[in-house]
Symmetry: C2
Subunit: 163 residues, 2 copies
């Protein structure tokens, strides 16, 4: 559709047949690590949605299920901190997981409620983990084990004070 | 608040004074590249919001402004593809930039409209780019030039077919 911008001799229709392979000018973007991370993040999100997200489970919801399983009785405030969400953003997430019957709020000690997986949540998470591991193998399939470690090391050095 | 889960001898109040440094159990998450990328992405987003986003400009909106400047008369469909958004997600983004007086839709050729920066958009983008470069320097400050190149190379090998 926009091919005329880049080659006035080529009709839009012909460009569409050729898959509109002519690249846009990207300006400053390719110099920015943040831009590359955003592209990768989007690709991972898309693959996750296709391969794991059949039940409407996003990477963030998956992360919440994993944290609740690993920390039975987890308090919402603590989970909000771990998930880097403010409490008002976390509440609808928990509501959603509770409505799906995956998580329940019940007494964690004498004074307050905590979060627990339901039996259904535990079973779904078992299946999700299998799918996430397959998804993760696709994510890293072009990286050697050494490169995967190196990538995690380099990522760990980005804005460590902001985690 | 949830410190009792991890050390029953320590009161929640004392834990809060100590900054609740006791870590949650993270289960499978640290094994997943997607999890590390999400943490980094969030840290970058937070730094961007603090240092660049005064006018409510997110990294995504900044990217759209850069693409429109670099490709005057850009068609919305082409921009949606470049920004990896479906057209229905892009329309409110463009509406927002148009309402701010930064972008305008006008005739790009005889048959259709394209996107252009306004004078105000051009001026704001100049200032944003300066701030984004400062933000980017913070993002990479713990990485050598070689490590930055290596990081971009490794990121480029993740799900190349999904970009």
């Amino acid at each position: 559709m926009g091919a005329r911008l880049f080659d006035v001799k080529q009709s839009g229709r012909r460009a569409r047949r050729r898959g509109e392979s002519r690249a846009l000018a990207l300006g400053i973007l390719p110099e920015l690590i943040g831009y590359h991370l955003r592209l990768v993040q989007r690709a991972i999100f898309a693959d996750f949605a296709e391969s794991v997200g059949a039940e409407g489970i996003s990477p963030g919801l998956f992360g919440v299920l994993v944290l609740v399983e690993a920390n039975p009785g987890l308090k919402q405030q603590r989970l909000a901190e771990a998930a880097h969400l403010d409490r008002s953003s976390l509440v609808p997430v928990i509501d959603k997981l509770e409505a799906k019957g995956l998580v329940e709020r019940r007494a964690a000690d004498r004074r307050s409620n905590g979060l627990f997986l339901t039996a259904e949540g535990t079973a779904l998470l078992r299946s999700l983990k299998r799918r996430v591991r397959r998804h993760e193998r696709r994510v890293v399939e072009n990286l050697s084990a050494r490169e995967q470690r190196e990538l995690i090391r380099l990522l760990g050095r980005i804005l460590p004070g902001k985690r």
